[in-house]
Amino acid sequence: MIFPLFDTIRISLYTQNLMGENMDNSSSVRAFIGLRNYYELFTNDNWSWHFWNALKNNTYFFLLHVSIQTPIGLLIAAFLSSKDLRFKHTYRTLIFLPAMMSIVIVGYLFNLILSNLWGIPQTILGVVGLEHIYQPWLGLKGPALITISLISIWQFVGIPMMLFYAALLNIPDEILDAAKIDGSGPMTTFWFVKFPLILPTVGLMVILTYVGNYNAFDLIFAMKSLYAGPEYSTDLMGTFFYRTFFGFQMQLGNPTMGATVASTTFGIILLGVLIYLFAFQQRVTRYQY
């Protein structure tokens, strides 16, 4: 499990004659070049534009997830955790359903739904009289990434919902009763009693989203193939890695450069996890009950 990660980092320090196109590990095919692959990746025009573009898109993708998915999940979980609300089991089962579906299926499905030929969004917007705001979102450079992020959020909102719901259920009734007796209304109780108590779970959710987002690949691959179009505006680290490693169209696959991209992603994820472990988890106050 850990060997491939370090071996990948090792491979990223080599270069290879691209005509000898096999996965050969022998030193006659590969030459040790130290960190030059990283230098090329960050600065050489062949790579760097794609790299920084993918990194920028991916960060945007992550920020959209955190800022939309977390509040929606929190809201639904807060509603579901309120006592004697009827049908809550049905709600949570159905809201969690998309998270069980394969990302590939979701990707193709939304490609069809948002397709110009089918016209589902026009019909729905027509009902509320907003037909004119329809655009072929997936085909436009700016909205494409936002649309794809929203689809991913749609699919995975169930996960923060479940985690927050579980955390909210764990809060003992005595605390909530005490708050009520002290004259705290539902909103005050939520923000000043419940929210601080589930803050560790919120932090966990953010880091899980972070790891998942920087690994995302399937959705872009299904909806946009490896072009990550339009004009690479939906390119993420995962798709960039795949193109570098296996090659695409005129570009030959480059295993050692692929390893470099993977190792860089590894570094980014590790950085996030370390920040979470040391800056967040150490500081946040945990309450035992």
Partner: protein, 278 residues
Amino acid sequence: MNNMKEKYNHLIMHVVLIFYTLICLFPVYLLINNSFKKRRAIFKEPLSLPSEETFSLIGFTKMFSRVDFSIYFYNSTFVTLTTLFLVLLFGAMAAWALSEYKFKGNTMLGLYLAFGIMLPIKLGTVSILQLLSSMNLVNTLTGLVIVYTAQSLPLAIWILSEFMKQVNQELKEAARCDGVNEYQLFFYIILPLMRPPLATVAVFTMVPVWNDLWWPLVLAPTGGKQTVILGMQQYIGQYVTNWNAVFASLTTALIPILIFYMIFSRQLIRSITSGAVK
């Protein structure tokens, strides 16, 4: 007065929840609904249910005539179940060792596994592909099973050892006093107690393996070893203009998971909310 206010609050909550549930279900409804319709009806009235006039299985017949999805189903089922078996067996044994016995490196091993949960194995693709191709395991189901087992074990071990730590100390001591050896203790006493967490682990192992695209794409893209998801992806790539066939193949790939979820949703949700996954 207070009661009125509460009712009002609940009403708002229901409205929001129903609205959001509809958002969640609407695309799925569109998908399944339209896979049973004629081409004209798909475009003309996408929202309505198939009627006697518009009902058609043409997408499915077209799809099954062109590709042998049964092979893909066999591949997916084989990979998922073999992985599940290996993960449950090794996971339970490793979790038992980690939670029950004190040995050198126990803590280190625990940290190592936590590392494995956090960092996705996908990042080691270059090395894994090289390794498996040197062992001639590319385009085989064995290769997939190995990778998936490695990928699923850390989380499985972690969940199971959390539960095994809670097993009553006196129970274990009583068994040992009765002359039960350590293997019998594990197989006849501990494992039966672990049924609910094992089910949780089973769900968390099977769903990602079944749904995965990356590893089949990288390790077994050709040669009749594709999984359902990859086979569907390749099929849609070829016949993207035939809407009937596309809907039919998406539905076919989705149905197993839907059935699985219908059966296990209660178990799954209970295990999440009871704190099996913290």
